[in-house]
């Protein structure tokens, strides 16, 4: 069979563009298709990114791609007590996603990848053995046509409809998503710190974030557990209503009370476990579509770029042998599960434990631990911080022991 391209990447976000950049740089014929009219628009993101992943890939982020640089994070307890955490892990940027995504995509194009925007994948084409060998696409709603390639990479993000057709289990359960709402507000005086506010009353099973941006702007957003039933939704169904909770937070905040809203958007982020398999014969899933998202903060850009690099390395080897079977692509899944996968699993455990802790206990925990303990917790070393907390409040042992068992 004659193929149009070596690989088709569905989705032109950070993972898709990174994958295409590396694959095309090594001489593969890559096509990115994206259903949006313009890469990067609409933005559905809090826009924070740690610098580690960008440095690892030898990329130099141009000034136009980010709004401001971040020095650290400030974590605020329900009673207002805060811990400031500064260190190499917390430095990064608050991006301008519109420009950042386009910049990443441009890098891929410079390496020789082809990009088609406003092109929606409708259906995954399969050969007689059920292996994907192309996609049916429609450009701007026009007559669909087929594009063939021996390998299809799904980098679709949250909805991952094509990945579902390939047989990946990417349907999200309500328990494993946070529904979010975000405003871009001005003016807000900040100290170049990411601010995170916790509290079950304010944001049940989630948090409020304030990400500073240039010119006294800030992204103010909220994430609420998808299974929370504290608000009234349309048609009388009970469910999480992030917008109402965010408005309530802003009303109580001295600085934001009088600030204006410049942008108003929302979305759903995955905070669950990654899907059970990333590769199948002639297809693979990378990035948020494979639920490779940090379950604590819902950040996915760094993990997506990391997994795209791993996937691209494996695909290059497979391309040399012209063997796109599951066995030949499986190395990507193995590398991911041994590396970032372990970190994500620990974060997931932490999330599931923390959602049981009440506001009062949360206040106590924040009073007890230091920024170093916080760092250790986020690194996955729970023993020391848990010992500290349980020593003063033994009744928490029942909840927190879940962290120590593994």
């Amino acid at each position: 069979m004659k193929y149009d391209h070596d690989v088709i990447v569905i989705g032109g976000g950070p993972s898709g563009s990174t994958f295409a950049r590396i694959a095309a740089g090594a001489g593969m014929d890559v096509l990115i298709i994206d259903k949006r009219k313009e890469i990067g628009v609409p933005v559905r993101c809090g826009e924070g990114l740690g610098e580690r992943e960008v440095i690892k890939q030898d990329l130099e982020l141009p000034k136009r791609c980010y709004s401001t640089e971040i020095e650290g994070a400030k974590v605020v307890a329900p009673n207002g007590k805060s811990i400031v955490w500064k260190g190499p892990e917390t430095t990064g940027w608050v991006l301008e996603r519109k420009i950042f995504d386009k910049w990443l995509c441009e890098l891929a194009v410079e390496k020789g990848a082809h990009v088609k925007v406003y092109t929606r994948a409708i259906e995954v084409l399969k050969d007689e053995k059920g292996r994907p060998n192309g996609v049916k696409v429609s450009h701007g709603g026009r007559e669909p046509h087929d594009i063939n390639a021996p390998l299809i990479v799904s980098a679709e993000g949250m909805e991952a409809l094509m990945a579902r057709q390939m047989g990946f289990k990417t349907v999200h359960q309500l328990y494993d998503v946070d529904t979010c709402y975000e405003y871009e507000m001005k003016p807000y005086d900040h100290e170049n710190l990411i601010e995170l506010y916790f509290g079950n009353e304010m944001a049940p099973r989630g948090y409020v974030w304030i990400f500073p941006k240039a010119d006294k702007k800030a992204n103010v957003g909220i994430g609420v557990g998808g299974n929370v039933e504290n608000g009234e939704k349309q048609s009388g169904i009970k469910g999480a209503n992030p917008k109402v909770l965010l408005d309530r937070f802003i009303e109580k905040n001295e600085q934001l009370k009088d600030a204006s809203t410049l942008l108003d958007f929302g979305g759903v982020i995955s905070v669950g476990a990654p899907i059970n398999e990333f590769v199948k014969d002639n297809c693979m899933a990378i990035g948020t579509g494979a639920k490779q998202v940090d379950p604590i903060h819902g950040g996915g850009i760094a993990l997506a770029m990391e997994s795209a690099v791993m996937a691209a390395d494996v695909v290059l080897k497979a391309h040399e042998k012209k063997d796109y079977s599951k066995d030949s692509l499986y190395e990507y899944e193995k590398t991911w599960r041994a590396g970032p996968g372990k970190k994500v699993a620990k974060r997931l455990l932490l999330r599931k434990v923390m959602e049981k802790v009440s506001d009062d206990d949360l206040n106590y925990i924040f009073n007890t631990i230091t920024d170093d303990d916080l760092k250790q917790t986020m690194d996955g070393n729970f023993a020391c911080p848990v010992a500290k907390v349980v020593a003063g409040r033994p009744q928490l042992l029942g909840i927190l022991s879940g962290l120590l068992s593994k």
């Binding site: 709603g141 349907v171 998808g226 048609s235 169904i237 958007f265």
Partner: protein
């Protein structure tokens, strides 16, 4: 009745336990609903399609489109929508029965 058969046909191999559960509830109650989206307030976040177990809602062009023939009326999209623009009309069998301003 046609919708019932269609849903049964589409659910011969239920894709996960949730849709099977809702399908059973629906068969027992024998009632049907319609989903409508207020496109003015929609922020195209695809939250609804990421939680939909049946792929019954997706982006078409520049707006979300709902495909009633795939829908099992489980209401997950209503709960997953951060902008609160999706509405489930209980007991409505035809789009014509819904007031125009609510479509």
């Amino acid at each position: 009745m046609i919708r019932l058969l269609r849903i049964l046909y589409l659910n011969v191999t239920p894709r996960n336990e949730i849709c099977l559960k809702f399908l059973l509830v629906k068969l027992q109650a024998g009632e049907f609903s319609m989903i409508t989206i207020k496109h003015d307030g929609c922020i195209l976040c695809v939250g609804c399609s990421s939680v939909c177990p049946m792929n019954a809602i997706e982006v078409v062009g520049t707006r979300m489109e709902h495909f009633p023939e795939k829908c099992i009326d489980c209401g997950l999209c209503v709960r997953g929508c951060p902008a609160n623009v999706i509405k489930l009309h209980k007991g409505v069998k035809d789009l014509k029965d819904i007031p125009k301003e609510e479509r």
